[in-house]
Symmetry: C2
Subunit: 176 residues, 2 copies
């Protein structure tokens, strides 16, 4: 391996990230301006429209969102009257979420736009290519996940509940 030079413009993860960014930005424009929805909020509505009655945890799993992100999105949607929340009778920690009429209205208006965007995207390639592309996304995602887990194994074992607040400066200049 003489001199490994990355050409960012051709580097696969970089290109995927650009594509993802362009797409989300484009779609977000469709609901952000009109409804004041954030991306997490939109995702929550989308999931709950399809699967009413899920708990916040389940929404997070289905949408691959962070539990915190879901919690916040749900709270904003509740305040906006776009969601209803009940408490599971058999487990009072668990919430039971459903879109309200207002939420359903948002969904009815945004979903066609999103689907239309997707359709319009796929118009630029053949349906064979589209199927192929989706398949490859699946394969690569799975693969990346496995690799990711492997890479993360240089970690320290998860401490349970460390010292409350070591004032400053642990060992490294840890940025996050």
């Amino acid at each position: 391996m003489a001199s490994p030079l990355i050409e960012l413009e051709r580097f696969l993860p970089y290109r995927i990230s650009v594509l993802a960014n362009v797409m989300s930005t484009a779609i977000a424009a469709a609901y952000e301006e009109r409804f004041g929805l954030t991306i997490p909020e939109w995702r929550v509505i989308a999931v709950l429209s399809r699967y009413p009655g899920l708990s916040a945890r389940e929404v997070a799993q289905k949408s691959r969102m962070d539990a915190v992100a879901v919690s916040r999105a749900v709270n904003r949607l509740l305040r906006a009257g776009r969601l209803r929340r009940a408490i599971a009778p058999d487990d009072r920690r668990r919430s039971v979420l459903e879109v309200s009429d207002a939420g359903a209205a948002v969904y009815r208006e945004v979903a066609p736009l999103a689907l239309e965007f997707e359709r319009s995207l796929l118009e630029s390639i053949s349906s064979t290519e589209g199927a192929q592309f989706e398949r490859l996304i699946g394969v690569l995602t799975e693969r990346a996940e496995r690799l990711s887990v492997r890479l993360r194994n240089g970690r320290s074992p998860p401490r349970k509940k460390g010292r409350p607040t070591q004032p400053t400066a642990s060992s490294r200049p840890r940025r996050r």
Copy 2:
């Protein structure tokens, strides 16, 4: 169009976003922990290793980053001694950026990991599929960009320098 239901798990933009997220997270783990590098910082180093002497603006264009993100990444890298900055003699607004020895060392260590990750990813599919995939990414990115521009055209014309600080509450609950 009877009842348009989005199945998030199959929705293309969503799947791309998941893939991108998994990939960046995986790679970031390779340099975040060891060098305290953020993604923008890594991108800047990658670009400048390949194209020394670019200005911040040019780095932003090549890496598709926001000018602000570049500015901040460059500053952190400068403080860490991983970059050198000079002022272009013919245009004193413009900076001339180069990785320092320390920056080059980082690059020499991270680049192989990144490339290895990419290689390992692509191992899960055939080289024909890989080429196809990359081509489709390009097509879809371009397409998404055009659609995006079109969608953005419901905007208000860009005001020049509005009233300094309308205290609160403009017209809409604009979230961003």
